[in-house]
Assembly symmetry: C2
Homo-oligomer: 211 residues x 2
DNA sequence: GAGAACGCTAAGCGCTTGCTCACCTTCCCT
DNA sequence: AGGGAAGGTGAGCAAGCGCTTAGCGTTCTC
């Protein structure tokens, strides 16, 4: 089911998870969690999707929650990487904001199955795992805020409330995972382009005022 | 816990639910579903919060899913009312869009407990209840799209992709329910004002071009 | 003032859950 | 050829689940 996602951006998801059986279980868990939610998913369902008996799950993972934590950790690492790459990249603030929103949204659309688990099942994590993930999210927030602050300082953006607008931009991108469907009309690229344009309008981007 | 919400906008939530015991159970279910999610909430937990035995729940509701359906129905009715009131109200397209976003966001923030259940537990509904709710959501979508189309026709807005922008506006507002916390710094009014401004920028609103 | 109706509880039924355990392969290493 | 990881299974345990049922006190009706 995830096969259409396999090579998006030349990135093969979950290739870092070994051995093969552990990866198959993890992919099965992503699909099940995304479809029905963490709490509504049974360990028997996950094992069944991976073509194994229920007991096989516990050879590779201590608990069902560890599966969720692994998924969440890998997903948040990827999300943070996307945002920091764009924030630290070349170009003016508007170009970096465009790149950040475009690639972040494209990832949420192309991997909406994974993204749904990553973004909406945070509360199911154990407290210590949750706080680890929250730290990563704060760093994502900081990356976007940095772009906005740079744009305001350079006179490129008109943003009265930088923290509030940062929150809104991230919220807009994240929610793509909730509504995006591969069966819909829009491709991830199209949604990324649309959202990049909308966000540049939100920050009142002016084309290179100092030139 | 919900007491701080009780009289927002002069609207006392759940006053339409009678008798008193049924309302107490429903309010308890809203809190529990919002905190832990539908599937992670037990009927014993709901009854306990309402100060009753587990069996008492089944005098007023046939199943746990009926509770969710009632909550979802009432919440979606309210959301649709807010949006259609703004869409059919007086003023130019920009004023109506401002009113729609402002009041819709304010409701999601002030009643974020309820809104979280309404917006994020849709998948837990039985198929026939789910499709009933989806119909209501399509009407909300139509209300916002109507404002945007009016603004474009009047030359007030610059929106290349009306359906896509409608989706983004609603998505932005809805996601407030996920991140808003009463413990945070912002009041529902402040978030409403911020978001109304951001959305007017998104649609490229010009102040009354025909005057 | 008898009797039905209502709102509620204590107990518990049948089932599913996350997870364990004893055992079985397969395969590599010496 | 022999031995021990590594990776898997079938059966099943204790706990918790949604929901039901028998019965109790109170209130309303005529």
């Amino acid at each position: 089911m995830d096969s259409a996602e396999d090579t998006v951006d030349g990135y093969r998801p979950w290739s870092e998870v070994t051995p093969d059986a552990a990866r198959r279980l993890l992919v099965a868990a992503v699909e099940a969690f995304a479809e029905r939610g963490y709490h509504a998913t049974t360990t028997r369902d996950i094992a069944g999707r991976a073509g194994m008996s229920p007991a096989a799950l516990y050879i590779h993972y201590k608990t069902k929650e560890e599966l969720l934590h692994r998924i969440s950790r890998i997903g948040h690492d990827k999300a943070l990487e996307i945002l920091t790459t764009a924030a630290d990249g070349p170009g003016c603030a508007a170009e970096r904001l465009d790149a950040a929103v475009r690639s972040f949204v494209r990832w949420h659309a192309a991997h909406h199955t994974t993204a749904r688990v990553v973004q909406y099942e945070l509360d199911a994590l154990a407290p210590e795992h949750r706080s680890e993930i929250v730290t990563l999210r704060r760093r994502s927030d900081a990356a976007v805020r940095r772009i906005l602050a740079d744009g305001v300082a350079a006179g490129e953006f008109d943003v009265p409330d930088v923290p509030g607008t940062t929150l809104a931009v991230l919220s807009l991108c994240i929610d793509v995972a909730r509504w995006f469907s591969a069966a819909g009309q829009r491709t991830p690229d199209e949604v990324g382009a649309l959202y990049a344009d909308l966000v540049l309008r939100m920050v009142g981007a002016r084309p290179h005022p100092q030139k």
